[in-house]
């Protein structure tokens, strides 16, 4: 039927004048361009180079995946109480991953030396954090403004009280003017949440704390620095540029060493703040410089017309930024923000150089346990760490892809 229509019109086209007599119906595409065969041809075998790459990749997969699978799953030991269970036996000649070791050590990997009776506080912190992350990451979540307030203000304060307890300074202030209810409240809090010095924190807890503090602080500071760098006030601009360029020009390890080794040389012992706190400040400032550049890219993508329209209706600078520019700029930079976050998450492992017991450090420490000394203990520990980081980072990168796709589909400009 549609064939006929095509032919009829084609015939008509031979004359000098042309009027379409019947509309053309849409046709399905030819077989070779669609379906599974079309996909294979186009994506895997479209040319000599593509064919070569396909073959190389297939070989690589065959070379790597089966042994890995064999070690991690087939030969792995899942249950056991000690090193003997993971060693090779006549019935089990090839040693695989000793997951029993990981299961046995999992609470050490998670909490470090955090007191056992207080570990519910850590669990609660993980829940608080998860709620905040979901609230922020779910683009259609209800009350996102409230979510931001929770994520950037309520959660950090609550987490601090929960994990650390009431700081001594606060208790002192509470008792000082003798306000009955306040000191009573602080005493009660102090009783329920006895102070846990950060030297006892460790494992996933520290990794998550360092990463989330880095994110929670680096984003707002980064936004301010990005705005500062584009400011019309020379002093503000100069400060932002110097800060950003200085921090970007120095390795994170240097920043951490400076914070933990140099700082105590300049200030008396009693003044010198907590070691973890110093690392947190270092990581936050470091990543805020990177965040600033990411946000600046987003700011530059906003057309000049948006600023002009905002000015023309009488909005001031901060109103323009908050209501018009930042919502659009941050939306388009979400993939890059997540990218920076992934980098930050992995960089947290560097805090081990100043003696902070992060997740990777607990794995290092676990290797030395004679109760689990086998040839595969280290490998298993590192494999576990790799899987842990992979899950988190891959999750974040999938999220960034999802946001990108959503923005591309819903590009309303």
């Amino acid at each position: 039927m549609s064939d006929i229509a095509t032919r009829t019109d084609a015939k008509l086209m031979e004359g000098p004048a042309f009027v379409r007599t019947m509309p053309l119906l849409p046709l399905p595409p030819p077989m070779a361009a669609s379906g599974a065969i079309g996909w294979l041809r186009w994506n895997l075998f479209s040319g000599p180079l593509n064919i070569a790459l396909t073959v190389v990749c297939a070989l690589l997969i065959v070379w790597i995946v089966p042994p890995l699978f064999k070690f991690l799953v087939v030969d792995a030991v899942w249950n056991g109480a000690g090193r003997t269970d993971c060693l090779a036996t006549p019935g089990h000649p090839e040693m695989g991953a000793c997951w029993a070791y990981v299961f046995d050590k999992i609470s050490f990997f998670t909490y470090g030396f955090y007191p056992i009776e207080g570990r519910w506080r850590v669990d609660l912190f993980f829940v608080l954090l998860a709620v905040g992350v979901v609230w922020m990451a779910w683009l259609n979540a209800p009350q996102r403004g409230l979510g931001a307030a929770y994520f950037f203000i309520v959660m950090p304060l609550a987490s601090f009280l929960l994990l650390y307890g009431v700081p001594e300074v606060l208790v002192g202030i509470g008792h000082w003017p003798r306000i009955g209810w306040l000191s009573a409240l602080l005493d009660a809090l102090n009783h329920v949440l006895p102070r846990v010095p950060t030297t006892q924190w460790g494992g996933v807890l520290v990794t998550v704390v360092v990463a989330s503090v880095g994110i929670v602080f680096s984003l707002p500071i980064g936004i301010l620095l990005a705005l500062g760098r584009r400011s019309r006030l020379p002093a503000v601009r100069l400060f932002s540029v110097i800060f950003i360029e200085f921090v970007r020009g120095v390795p994170l390890i240097t920043v951490l060493f400076m914070a933990s080794v140099m700082l105590p040389l300049f200030v008396p012992e009693s003044w010198s703040p907590d070691k973890l706190l110093r690392a947190l400040v270092g990581v936050s400032l470091f990543s805020s410089a990177y965040m600033a550049e990411v946000v600046r890219a987003g700011l530059q993508a906003i057309p000049k017309g948006q600023y002009e329209a905002a000015m023309a209706v009488g909005l001031g600078y901060w109103q323009t930024m908050r209501l018009i520019v930042l919502p659009q700029a941050l939306k388009i930079t979400i993939p890059n923000i997540v990218n920076t976050t992934i980098g930050l998450f992995k960089d947290t492992t560097l805090v081990f150089v100043v003696g902070i017991f992060d997740f990777l450090m607990t794995i290092e420490a676990g290797r030395a346990d004679p109760a689990w000394a086998t040839p595969v203990t280290s490998t298993t520990g590192y494999a576990f760490a790799a899987i842990f980081y992979l899950i988190f980072c891959y999750g974040m990168s999938r999220y960034a892809r999802f946001v990108e796709a959503r923005l591309a589909a819903g590009d309303r400009r």
Binding site: A310, M311, V313, Q319, Q328, R412
Partner: protein, 260 residues
């Protein structure tokens, strides 16, 4: 329903003085480039001025100086008696009272049509949200797209977007409206709906400065047509005299090129 039949009348906010815009000996440079050269233009209440001229002649720069999107470097500009200087308070005052419509609409893409309209009234005029919504819906009816209130700008056609932009400016209850080539980014089929809205606005007595090459509109609506070339006002006259009997040679050349 009743509102749709009885169109809400627009009363432009009253001017404090009889002179809406007074430009006296205004000069402006972009670097070394002299964009505006000795501009003298007085726009009185309810006057409709259409500014035309070849591209690069400084038309847009001229009207953008009136709400200080561009800064002039010499001469004086008074908007309803308020002189534009570096005083930010004065600039804010002027911007609140002067509405502007851009060539590329410049709607806020992340906000719905209704939010686009109510943003400035709520944040700048401190109107309660309910009142701002009501006023915004009124204006959307005037520009004949109340049913699009909850869509995003990207879902509208160019003509509809430009009408939203006009309504957005009107929601601030301006004394003066500036139009910077409001129809030149539109598909030909959509020019009319925007021009109709502007004609209506003129009939309501709004003081308007319009940069446009829509000569039909100029003939129908303008009190005065200003022709610019190379940063100067070359000729200004009533539409009839301007079109039928242009005095300056440059004007004649320009008209012969755009009126076929």
């Amino acid at each position: 329903m009743a509102q749709q039949t009885a169109k809400p009348a627009l009363r432009p906010a009253p001017l404090k003085t009889g002179v809406a815009v007074d430009m006296i000996g205004v000069h402006k440079w972009y670097g070394d480039f002299h964009v505006l050269r000795d501009i003298n233009l007085r726009v009185t209440k309810s006057e409709r001025i259409v500014i035309c001229g070849p591209s690069g002649s400084g038309k847009s720069t001229l009207i953008r100086c009136i709400n200080r999107l561009e800064e002039h470097q010499q001469g004086r500009i008074l908007v309803d008696g308020v002189e534009l200087t570096n005083d930010l308070k004065k600039i804010d005052e002027v911007r609140r009272d002067v509405g502007m419509v851009f060539q590329h609409f410049n709607l806020f893409p992340h906000l719905t049509v209704l939010e686009n309209l109510t943003l400035a009234p709520i944040w700048v005029r401190k109107q309660p949200k309910k009142l701002a919504d009501e006023i915004a819906m009124n204006y959307l009816q005037r520009v004949k797209i109340p049913e699009q209130a909850n869509k995003y700008p990207g879902q509208l056609s160019g003509g509809q977007q430009q009408r939203v932009a006009i309504a957005r400016a009107l929601c601030m209850n301006p004394k003066i409206m500036l139009f910077d080539e409001p129809t030149s980014a539109l598909d030909p089929e959509m020019v009319k709906e925007v021009l109709d809205t502007m004609v209506q606005l003129a009939e309501d007595g709004m003081t308007m400065l319009v940069v446009s090459h829509e000569m039909g509109f100029a003939r129908q609506v303008a009190n005065r047509i200003v022709f610019m070339d190379e940063g100067q006002i070359v000729e200004a006259n009533e539409p009839k005299a301007f079109f039928d009997n242009p005095q300056h040679e440059r004007t004649r050349l320009f008209l012969s090129q755009i009126l076929h």
